[in-house]
């Protein structure tokens, strides 16, 4: 192998550059920032379902609600957590409690770099804007 050392040095520099963000995070004392969710100020004590489940699967729940309401004309959802019956409505039920879209929806969605298009049509609660 001619000039093998050049290749090895080049590879080492490359690996260092690529992994530099990871190395930096590992070495720095500061922890990566995690979005802080603001709980509804005067909302119900319980969400429609268990909070951890909602955090992971609210998008599935909302998709199901959308299809059931629009395409099947059914509107009542019975919570598996409390047995309470809810109106399957994003603007009324969800945003009735989580009235601050900026601090509740957007904060996490921005962090996760997802852009749901709910609000192209559905009207966000007023106090935000």
């Amino acid at each position: 192998m001619h000039d093998g050392w050049k290749i090895v040095v080049g590879l080492a520099v490359f690996v260092l550059l690529v992994t530099s963000p990871l190395v930096y995070n590992a070495l720095s004392a500061e922890k990566a920032s995690v979005p802080e969710l603001v709980k509804p100020p005067n909302g119900a004590p319980e969400c429609v379902e268990d909070a951890a489940w909602m955090r992971a699967s609210h998008m599935d729940l909302l998709n199901d609600w959308r299809d059931i309401v629009v395409r099947e004309g059914r509107r009542d959802y019975t919570s598996g957590l409390t047995g309470t019956v809810y109106d399957m409505s994003l603007s009324k039920t969800c945003m009735g409690c989580h009235s601050n879209k900026d601090e509740f929806c957007d904060r996490c969605h921005t962090y996760m770099a997802v852009a749901p298009y709910c609000w192209d049509c559905h009207v966000e609660p007023e106090e935000v804007s």
């Binding site: 429609v48 199901d64 004309g73 957590l81 049509c121």
Partner: protein
């Protein structure tokens, strides 16, 4: 060890396919696992219904109800107002008598009816041509009550339905509808640019046991809404006692908005 370039590429390719396939499989196999439940049938949905509307044109004229009706509907559903006719969006509007009922055209009667303004809307046809052309099933006739529904989540804006509707009941959002709204009703969504919209017989109000917004705005029976399957309903009584006409009946669409003229 026999490590050829060909062998390496084969292995790398197999690895990529395996990884992508696994992800895809997991996505397909994921079930909507909401812990809660939705009642299989909503209380009133089990009963067979056929919603219809009777417009009493004479009463509309007597009480000058045109603008009140349109205002009530368009406010309730965030229907935008644009001044240019090209961008117009409408759920309920008025037509001249001849335009609303072209098959009623005759030289002498027309003189008398010339200035009449007829409130017109989606006829929620029994045989709707608009739903048959929709490539995404974003519009369909609800079998439980005959309402011609729209799913604005699913509409791709191809406008086939706009062309198929012989009544001009469907509007396309050429512009962002929110720019045409002075005030937004929060209970109802707006639409977005590139989506078709029309009257839904206020299905969201009917579900809560309310009348459609236009019928509610009429205190003098200008618009009566009800169930054709119920022989004792107000619409059936009106249809029994009055001679009524429908828009363009010869097309065979079986419109379900009846006019007392």
């Amino acid at each position: 060890m026999d490590r050829t370039r060909r062998r390496f590429l084969q292995l790398a390719g197999a690895g990529v396919v395996g990884a992508a396939g696994g992800t895809a499989l997991r996505a397909v196999a994921r079930e909507p696992e909401a812990p809660g439940s939705v009642e299989s049938v909503q209380p009133q949905a089990g009963i067979s219904r056929r919603w219809a509307m009777v417009v009493n044109l004479k009463a509309v004229e007597r009480h000058h109800s045109w603008d009140r009706i349109i205002e009530a509907c368009h406010r309730a559903h965030n229907v935008p107002h644009f001044s240019s006719a090209k961008d117009e969006v409408k759920w309920i509007w008025t037509e001249e008598f001849e335009a609303a009922f072209p098959s009623q055209e005759q030289p002498y009667v027309t003189l008398e009816h010339h200035d009449r303004r007829v409130p017109v809307l989606c006829n929620h046809c029994d045989n709707p041509p608009c739903t048959r052309v929709c490539p995404t099933e974003a519009t369909w006739k609800r079998e439980s009550d005959g309402i011609v529904m729209m799913d604005w989540h699913r509409c791709i804006g191809c406008r086939y339905c706009v062309v198929a509707c012989p009544y001009g009941s469907r509007s396309f959002n050429w512009r962002d509808p929110r720019t045409g709204l002075e005030e937004i009703t929060k209970e109802f969504p707006t639409r977005m640019r590139g989506v078709v919209e029309k009257c839904t017989f206020c299905e969201e109000r009917i579900a809560r046991g309310l009348e459609p917004a236009c019928a509610e705005a009429c205190e003098h029976g200008e618009i009566v809404f009800g169930d054709l399957e119920d022989a004792n309903s107000e619409v059936r009584r009106l249809l029994r006692e009055h001679f009524t006409i429908r828009r363009k009946p010869t097309l065979g669409t079986q419109p379900q908005v009846y006019y007392i003229v």
